[in-house]
Amino acid sequence: MKEYLKVANDPMLWLMCLPVVAVVGIQAIIFSKKAFASANSVQLTKKEAKDAFRIGAISAIGPAVAVFVVMLGMMAVIGAPMTWLRLSIIGSAPAELAASTMGAKAMGVEFGGEGYGVIEYANSVWAMTLNGIGWLLFCGLFTHKLDGLRNKISKGDSKLTGEIGGAAMLGAMAYLVGGHLIAGSGNLVAALVAGIAMILLGKLAEKLPKLAEYNLGIAMVIGMVAAVLYVG
């Protein structure tokens, strides 16, 4: 094992990473409580509120397992505690690995290569930290201002807000899926098959409403299986 990895897996470092992970959980719990408390005022029953939470929790399993797979590679280079912290908050494996690389570069060495020791690792940690706070600071400072902006555009017309939300979703997902369509091969197959499966499942869910909450998970697995079969 490389010398710096002993430091990167220092048991005390887990304790230093714990508070941020805890804030993420605490915020989610506070927000849920507030949503429950306000449910009555918008005709949301307690059962529906519980269902919403449960559906979110179940739907996240597939994507979370994908994060799991990516994490392991990251743990091998930046240690388990920092991987735990970084992937519990905003950021992604590519962003964190890029930040680590830039931190090493700023110290004049290759990330994980010759001469990458404890102090170089520390600089990678600084780079990941400073990069990650960019989103947090912007959202902490300006999210409530964005709300004012949205209300100005839709002028309180909730139907228009809904249309805008749907359009924004399609724009974002078109962008996200577009690269995979152009990449072709397994990525194209996964995107197309999952999309078609979703449309068919949506039709089926009109007859079996209970199915709706599993649609995304099922469509995802069908797309993944098709892609694996295609690439062999």
Binding site: V7, V23, V24, G25, I26, Q27, A28, A35, S38, V42, F53, I55, G56, S59, I61, P63, V67, F68, P81, I89, A99, M107, A122, A127, T129, L130, N131, G134, L136, L137, F138, C139, G140, F142, T143, L146, R150, S158, L160, G162, E163, A167, A168, M169, L170, A174, V177, G178, H180, I182, N187, A191, A194, M198, G202, E213, A219, M220, I222, V228
Partner: protein, 225 residues
């Protein structure tokens, strides 16, 4: 009456959410520095300030524009509460947005309504708890557990992102076929034909062009009626 209700919702939900959202985000910013400070105190590993700033500059030159472009672009989808949660917990396009949308779809809420926002909030909160559990298990026991997965399953997870994005796109394209056709046509044109635009321009162009297209056709339709 309608206005009164909106006001009650604002006072009872949105306002406290903004307060909590802000302090949790700023607290997280401060706490993020703990590992770096620990490495300094315990191991004396404090890089020269010049190296820290250089590293920051290098990475910010790649990601800096995302700090504000992503929150602005995703805001029409996530709303206030969703933005505070999603930009703290991350995994936005691949986890928070899909989970919020599935919860809304399953409970058949009217898009854009306050009820829809609460359902999205709860769906996102549920997804965050799942994510924390999985990430914690992976960090502690990941390497051992990995051997339990057959290689073909690992291989399949290489395709998880196109599968999620493809099904999410389809789910909404069924609801708004015109907007969907516009969005995918524009994206493929920009990615496949124009090719030169950097990502930090592509995301807002795709999102906001589709919004403008939708708003214009919505208003046109409203006028005709």
């Amino acid at each position: 009456m309608e206005n009164n209700k909106n006001q009650a919702y604002y006072e009872g939900f949105t306002k406290p959410i903004i307060k909590t959202g802000r302090w949790t985000l700023f607290l997280a910013v401060a706490l993020c520095f703990l590992p770096a400070i620990y490495l300094w105190i315990r191991y004396g590993a404090l890089p020269p300030i010049g190296a820290i700033l250089t590293g920051w500059f290098l990475i910010a030159s790649i990601y800096g524009s995302y700090y504000f472009i992503e929150p602005i672009s995703f805001f029409p989808i996530l709303g206030v509460a969703g933005t505070y949660m999603s930009f703290l917990a991350g995994n936005i396009g691949n986890m928070r947005v899909p989970c919020a949308a599935v919860a809304q779809e399953a409970l058949k809420v009217e898009p854009g309504s306050e009820k829809a926002e609460l359902v999205a909030t709860l769906g996102i909160a549920g997804s965050i708890i799942t994510n924390l559990i999985v990430v914690t298990i992976a960090a502690i026991a990941g390497n051992g557990l990995m051997q339990l997965f057959p290689p073909v399953v690992i291989k399949a997870f290489e395709f998880v992102l196109p599968a999620i994005f493809g099904s999410m796109f389809a789910m909404f394209a069924v609801k708004y076929p015109k907007y969907g056709a516009f969005a995918i046509g524009l994206t493929l044109f920009l990615l496949g034909v124009v090719k030169v635009l950097p990502v930090y321009i592509l995301i807002p162009v795709c999102v906001f062009s589709t919004i403008i297209f939708a708003t214009t056709s919505y208003k046109k339709k409203a006028k005709q009626q």
